[in-house]
């Protein structure tokens, strides 16, 4: 065993990983090598100091400050979540309104609305107002259900408006319904 091997074995010995054979060879080496003997003593002493270095307890303020920071984070997160949801819902409702108005304008320019269309348009407006009310509620109660309600209301408003404009076109109605369902699904997940 040369000095380099001896020093690695000393390190392994400190970890309890040296084999009996290695330890015997090391003992033999240390008896005739003063330098490695000193190395072994130094390493043993330093390792002892490190292993017994006092484990300082964390100051009590750590727990308190962590809890304080976490509750602040939670409050901020909830506020941001609520604000984003409200913005999203409001923009969604406004988008549906714009689409509905455009459809109304086009339909009005093409033909005069019949009694049935007027009723449906009124229902549309009611549902749209409901959507707006619900989206405002989202801001206050922050519940997921309210966000879904708002989306359903806005989507239904659009479907009703479109079907009022062209009640015989079943394909359009089905397409719009499926788009609404996709919107709601995206909202929920």
């Amino acid at each position: 065993m040369n000095c380099q091997q001896a020093q690695r074995t000393i390190s392994r010995q400190l970890d309890g990983e040296a084999s009996v054979r290695e330890l015997l060879a090391l003992k033999e080496h240390l008896e005739r090598c003063c330098q490695c003997s000193v190395f072994a003593n130094d390493l043993g002493r330093l390792t002892g100091v490190l292993r017994n270095s006092n484990v300082e307890s964390a100051p009590e303020s750590v727990t308190f400050v962590v809890q304080e920071r976490l509750s602040r984070l939670k409050r901020e997160g909830e506020r941001r979540y609520s604000l984003n949801r409200t913005r999203w819902t409001a923009s969604s409702v406004l988008r549906q309104l714009a689409a509905a108005l455009r459809e109304c304008w086009l339909a009005r320019s093409l033909r005069t609305l019949g009694r049935r269309e007027v009723y449906i348009a009124a229902a549309c407006a009611a549902v749209f107002v409901l959507g707006l009310v619900v989206s405002v509620r989202v801001h206050y109660d922050r519940s997921h259900t309210s966000v879904v309600e708002a989306t359903v209301a806005a989507s239904t408003a659009q479907v009703l408006t479109l079907s009022a404009m062209d009640p015989l076109d079943d394909v359009t109605i089905v397409n719009n319904l499926s788009r609404s369902a996709r919107d709601v699904h995206a909202m929920v997940h």
Binding site: R8, R45, V49, L73
Partner: protein, 205 residues
């Protein structure tokens, strides 16, 4: 880590993921002392160690929803702590000049005690031991961060090599090799003190 502790941690993580605030408080109480002690050995200032300990738990809280249990909770927390310490040490290195050599760290520059041979209750022996401990901790801060990390995790915190390897994301052989290098480097830094060239405690005649 013991099986019981692993099971306890898994339950705590599940409770945290179910938004149970008290479970995270328990995690903080369970690990804050060990994490603080680790960071205290990694960074020189106590105030910085406190700030970094808080940051570890805040980051853990933010990330616990995505914690999948591929490693133990303890390993995960120590990994966060290690990353924070390494970032902090690197940032600090860019704003600080080179650390002074160990010989310059002596406050009085006076004479060291003889190798203690009397009773362990001898106040001078105890003083010399305390002095040695303080010197070792000062020398730790002069080690390169990759050596210091494994040395503190293994020797001070008492984690097994396999867990240290998982924390620093290195092969086991690399960790053992770094450990040997760290011991040799620490001894080199402490050599003037150990040989009595830097002496700090006077024993009255």
């Amino acid at each position: 880590m013991m099986e019981g502790a692993a099971d306890r941690d898994a339950i705590l993580v599940t409770r945290c993921q179910s938004q149970e605030q008290s479970a995270f408080d328990e995690i903080v109480l369970l690990y804050q002392d060990r994490i603080f002690s680790y960071i205290r050995h990694m960074v020189a200032s106590r105030e910085d160690a406190e700030d970094l300990t808080q940051e570890v738990f805040v980051r853990a809280y933010c990330g616990i929803q995505t914690f999948r249990g591929h490693s133990s909770l303890q390993t995960w927390l120590f990994r966060i702590a290690t990353n924070l310490c390494v970032d902090w040490l690197r940032r600090r290195k860019t704003t600080q000049t080179v650390s002074p050599p160990l010989e310059c760290l002596s406050s009085s520059g006076s004479v060291i005690a003889e190798e203690p041979s009397c009773s362990e209750l001898d106040p001078f022996v105890l003083l010399a031991e305390e002095e040695l401990k303080a010197r070792v901790l000062e020398a730790l801060h002069l080690l390169p961060e990759r050596l210091k990390t494994v040395l503190v995790l293994h020797e001070v915190v008492g984690l097994p090599y396999a867990e240290v390897a998982s924390i620093v994301r290195c092969p086991l052989g690399t960790v053992k090799s770094r450990m040997f290098q760290a011991r040799v480097a620490l001894r080199s830094l402490m050599l003037p003190y150990l040989r009595g060239e830097v002496k700090t405690v006077d024993r009255p005649q």
